[in-house]
Amino acid sequence: MSDEKPNDALPEIEGRRPPSHPQKFTTVSGYPIRQLYTAADLKGWNPERDLGQPGEPPYTRGIHPSMYRGRLWTMRQFAGFGTAEDTNARFRYLLAQGQTGLSVAFDLPTLMGYDSDHQLALGEVGKCGVAISSLADMEALFDRIPLAEVTTSMTINSPAAVLWAMYLAVAEKQGADWQRLSGTLQNDILKEYIAQKEYIYPPEPSLRLVIDTFEFSANRTPRFNPISISGYHIREAGSTAIQELAFTLRDGIEYVERGLRRGLAVDDFAPRLSFFFNAHNDFFEEIAKYRAARRIWQREMRERFGAKQARSWALRFHAQTAGCSLTAQQPYNNVVRTAIQALAAVMGGTQSLHTNSLDEAWALPTEFAATLALRTQQIIACENGVTNTADPLGGSYFVESLTNEVEAGACDYIRKIDALGGMVAAIEHSFPQREIAEASYRYQQAVDRKEKIIVGVNEYVVEEKPIEVLQIDEGVAVRQQDRLRRLRAERSGEEVRRRLDGLMRAAEGTENLMPHLYEAVKAYATLGEICDALRTVFGAYEEVAIT
């Protein structure tokens, strides 16, 4: 007995070891991890150059000197369902619960530029978000919410300029000063072609609309972020962490190039470019990704574009926990997953965070589930002590090595896309689309073979009862159809026609379309009418489907 080593003395208890322990030690992206990291892994690493101080280039340690001691991240829960009134009530509830910013989820017809009464909207009105077809809906959405005081993020892409014009019109009606308005438009069309696929027009006119918002925003709403360059959806489509990082930053480079081509000065618009990353399961890989993102971006902004202002160099980002990591099985496990993912985003230095709700593999969140998700952030902010110091993992052999490796992997991809002639050319070659589809299939195979374990899905499976979920009934569509009928009867049809004609003439030329969109929404032209007018001029995009 006394001869035995302590480990051998332990009896074999069922459950002591996972039933099928992964054969390979890799991240969730399939990236290999070594048994131990030591100083030998950081040869050539120069802490002064590669790490620096928080708030200073290369921003590896974060973009603010005091990080969360100075100010917490913004707790911004993405919300939207049913009619504008339904979502307005959820917004006011979330603000009352201590949420610090709004984030609007629009339904699929709105995202695709169709009114709620369009044939293709059948069955989709108010389902994945709120239905917004005109300025009247936008007014109801922000009823009793002072836009001068809250910051609002809007997840809208192809029709982003139109929805933004509606937002600005509501702000004006409320008497809010545009110069002080703050918030973010997603407005990232490139990742739509790459991953999320909610595009309307071909890339060139779509990019023109994006740059129109950059230009308009730089002049008229200096505190608004006209874009949130998004890796989130790229990751959800199945990419690896390195692909997410590389494609997102290369999208960012593309937008900067387009802005410069328009004649904008880099330091006039680059400080307002914001980013959006996924917070997936693999804790250290995610933290390395955020740290590498800041380091690459500051280098690209300085070396590629010659930006002079520090505000142009610093990559600010929003993070959302990974929807694709949530399981329909044993949904309460999702609370745990989300908490750990959120912790990675915070330890990686995020400026803003959305935590997913436990029921999101089933439906849009119930109020209970949405509240629990917000509480998860509040617990991290108040209870664990992770906010006490900037970049708590800085200097770890493992984290610094992984940061270097993720950076190198992303830079390889960026060079490849440069060689293809930029992101639009790469998209036309289906390059990022194929890379993502490959990674997604490899991951599924690893799960099917149990090389990657998902608790409750391919291991620790039990029989269970369904949970209660939020159901959106077709009454929402009926109410929207009635409202649109009334709107079309009450507004001046003649003015709407005049504004839409003006918009189309402008679209045929090269001037900035924002003022025309603004006049059209103020005349209560609907989203569908405006997007159709632009479809007439720009045409519609169809991708080459790859499988």
């Binding site: 909207a121 059948l122 069955g123 999320q196 329909a328 159901q471 499988t547």
Partner: protein
């Protein structure tokens, strides 16, 4: 003469563009030796029914995550009946609340696959149900 391969149409109805699942299933069925045609995005039930007819498929696999399944699935089944294509096996995969499953089955959907389903389970289901069809 070699045995005719099982022919499958994978379709994304509705406005949603999240095609990760559709692509994985298309590839898994192809790797399992079936002929797979992927429609691409934003197909109406009419487009799907006529593609299924033209391609003479044995199976239609719908990927729906948007909550529009209760509208889109019965529409497709109605169209298939009108075309006398009742023998085509129709599957749905995606985000489907459990409460909606009996209604979809009643409309004629043969199999409903929720998140977390191994691809092999779908391959097996297709093989079993198309064999029954011959």
């Amino acid at each position: 003469m070699s045995e005719r391969k099982i022919r499958v149409l994978i379709a994304k109805p509705g406005l949603d563009g999240h095609d990760r699942g559709a692509k994985i299933i298309a590839r898994a069925l192809r790797d399992a030796g079936m002929e797979v045609i992927y429609t691409g995005l934003r197909q109406t039930p009419e487009m799907i029914a006529s593609a299924a007819e033209q391609e003479d498929v044995d199976v239609i696999g719908l990927s729906i995550l948007s909550g529009a399944h209760n509208t889109l699935c019965p529409q497709l089944m109605e169209l298939l009946r009108a075309k006398h294509m009742d023998d085509v096996v129709v599957l749905v995969g995606g985000i489907i609340p459990e409460a909606d499953i009996p209604g979809l089955k009643k409309a004629g959907i043969a199999g409903i696959f929720l998140p977390g389903t191994p691809t092999q389970a779908i391959v097996d289901f297709v093989r079993t149900h198309t064999r029954a069809r011959d």
